[in-house]
Amino acid sequence: MLTLLFDGVAYGMLLFVLSLGLAVTMGLMNFINLAHGAFAMAGGYVLVLLMQRHGWPFLACLPAAFVATALVGAALERTLYRPMYAKPHLDQVLFSIGLTFMAVAAVDFGMGSSQVNVQTPPWLQGRFELGSGELTLGMGRYRLFIVAVCVALALGLQAILAGTRFGSRLRAAVDDPRVAAGLGIPVDRVFLLTFAFGSGLAGLGGALGVDILGLDPSFPFKFMVYFLIVCAVGGTSSITGPLLAALVLGIADVFGKYYVPKLGGFIVYVLMIAILLWRPQGLFTRESRR
């Protein structure tokens, strides 16, 4: 019972890191980026490549996955995404689906279509057991590691957004790009950095998730719905919204798959529709935005 809860929390945390970048691009830049999963997949494959072909240690691969996808994200933002910001949502959706198609086919071509696995380092294998009987809490070390990383990330990001000059510039640029530009804020550069950072987070999440979510070329489509649910339900104007939404989704999914395996996805989707009908702007949005 508690073990399941813990697994759900770990899963939710992972979803949070994966979707946070999407929440940033979607909420802060008002861009529906369905290609987000492709960045996560890229991060996962960077990890796999570095660990298996080049023998890098696991811990070194995580930052590498972050940096590599952030660079790719920056390059794409510069060249492809920027002209799309001003276009209607339908265009953005189709554009990013197109990108995802390309990414999926390219990875399929380069890496093969089968699922890949990585060997986590020995110190992350095994699990702790606390308590006994009904209330046993079994915590896989790897999941504990994920939770720790994600909590640290969430706290750090909240601090950056709320407390630094960059954070306030970003919020200003999002609220009104024209006025922000008039005040001398380099809006383009702020967006570029934000996009790169969001992609990097996706890459990091993808790398962390290889062991739990599995990784194959269909990854972007398989998890696209989950990312979107986190952002749509959590609202995109804060970090806490997606965090809570991701935790709820993770726990609901793990419990659903355990107790009613055949209805697992069903519950999640019905919940999502119900929440969106109730609060179309998401659960945790400030009313007056946009």
Binding site: M26, I32, L80, P83, M84, K87, P88, H89, L90, D91, V93, L94, F95, I97, G98, L99, T100, F101, M102, A103, V104, A105, A106, D108, F109, S113, F221, V225, L228, I229, C231, A232, K262, L263, G265, F266, Y269, V270, M272, I273, L276, L277, P280, Q281
Partner: protein, 328 residues
């Protein structure tokens, strides 16, 4: 501008043009000229019908939907189950599929009148996913992942059997497409259709002109759903098979692709897009069977980067691009 000028301007696109008649003649000629490709013609006709239904929802009413497969799937399963358990007559089955699609559209239409583009995207996708899960769960009815087999459709008019070469099927699907096209052509040029386009372009203004926005959105959504249900029913009847595939996400994405290639916002867009998409699919997958999605994706990215303003005025775009038959 006087009232007469205005009504003349609104009525002008409703007139049949020579090229439209010529195109329909050409379309009807294809199953006679190339009977060996009857199966492909059937597929294209079904995709075109599906794309036209999305056109009503997306191109005319401006509702961004990533879950249009929900209605397609409802129609397909409805027709298949009806043929299997009740009676095999194709026309009654088609009507059942259409009505099922329409019912589902009525039921879900309150969900799409609220919220932002993102919410609509998620809700439509969610509906399709819920149906997919349900179809998967109730595998004693739907056959689950194996699909629903043993669907036998009776002969058309009691005389023309649905054969393996799909000749009957191609005529049947083309006829349904043609009739629906004629009906929808009337709808989109009616005051209702014009008000839909006004709504798409400026919702606030239409509301302040005293028209009920939500009722119009719901009506358009239902019409689109019904036609999508008909398309699904056609697929189930002509292939004698229905599987979870009819509800999958890629079906919603494919039809949107087809529509966008053809240009949303005019009925020919669905037809042209379906032809272009299928031809592109066939050529590309003959060229690289496994990686054809890469080229579709590339095409989409380039199209989106290069030509939104052309998409808004597809007439100019298609005047050059594919006036001769919709192919690109």
């Amino acid at each position: 501008m006087s009232a007469r000028d205005m009504s003349a301007r609104l009525l002008a696109p409703a007139r049949w043009r020579a090229w439209e008649l010529a195109l329909w003649a050409a379309i009807w000629a294809t199953p006679f000229v190339v009977p060996q490709h009857a199966a492909l013609i059937n597929e294209i006709a079904i995709l075109a019908l599906f794309a036209v239904s999305l056109d009503i929802v997306l191109g005319y009413a401006g509702i961004v939907s990533l879950g249009h497969a929900a209605f397609f799937g409802a129609g397909a399963y409805g027709a298949a189950l009806f043929a299997k358990h009740v009676m095999p007559d194709p026309f009654v089955g088609l009507a059942v599929g259409t009505v099922l699609g329409a019912l589902l559209g009525v039921l879900t239409s309150p969900m799409i009148v609220r919220g932002t583009d993102l919410t609509r995207l998620m809700v439509t996708m969610g509906v399709a996913l819920v149906l997919l899960e349900l179809a998967n769960k109730f595998d004693n009815i739907t056959g689950g992942a194996d699909g629903l087999q043993g669907v036998v459709t009776g002969p058309l008019f009691g005389a023309f059997e649905f054969d393996l070469a799909a000749r009957t099927a191609s005529f049947y699907s083309l006829a349904v497409l043609f009739i629906v096209f004629l009906a929808l052509r009337r709808v989109v040029h009616s005051p209702f259709g014009v008000s839909l386009q006004a709504l798409r372009d400026n919702r606030l203004r239409l509301a302040s002109a005293g028209m009920s926005v939500n009722a119009r959105l719901a009506a358009a959504y239902t019409v689109g759903a019904a036609v999508a249900g008909a398309a699904g029913a056609l697929l189930a009847q002509t292939t004698g098979f229905a599987s979870l595939d009819v509800l999958e996400f890629h079906r919603s994405a494919d039809v949107m692709l087809a529509l966008v290639i053809g240009g949303a916002g005019w009925l020919w867009g669905g037809l042209a897009g379906a032809i272009a998409f299928k031809v592109m699919h066939d050529v590309l997958s003959a060229f690289t069977p496994q990686y054809w999605t890469f080229w579709i994706g590339l095409f989409l990215v380039v199209l989106m980067l290069a030509g939104r303003e052309r998409l808004l005025r597809p007439w100019t775009w298609f005047g050059r691009g594919a006036g001769g038959g919709g192919g690109r």
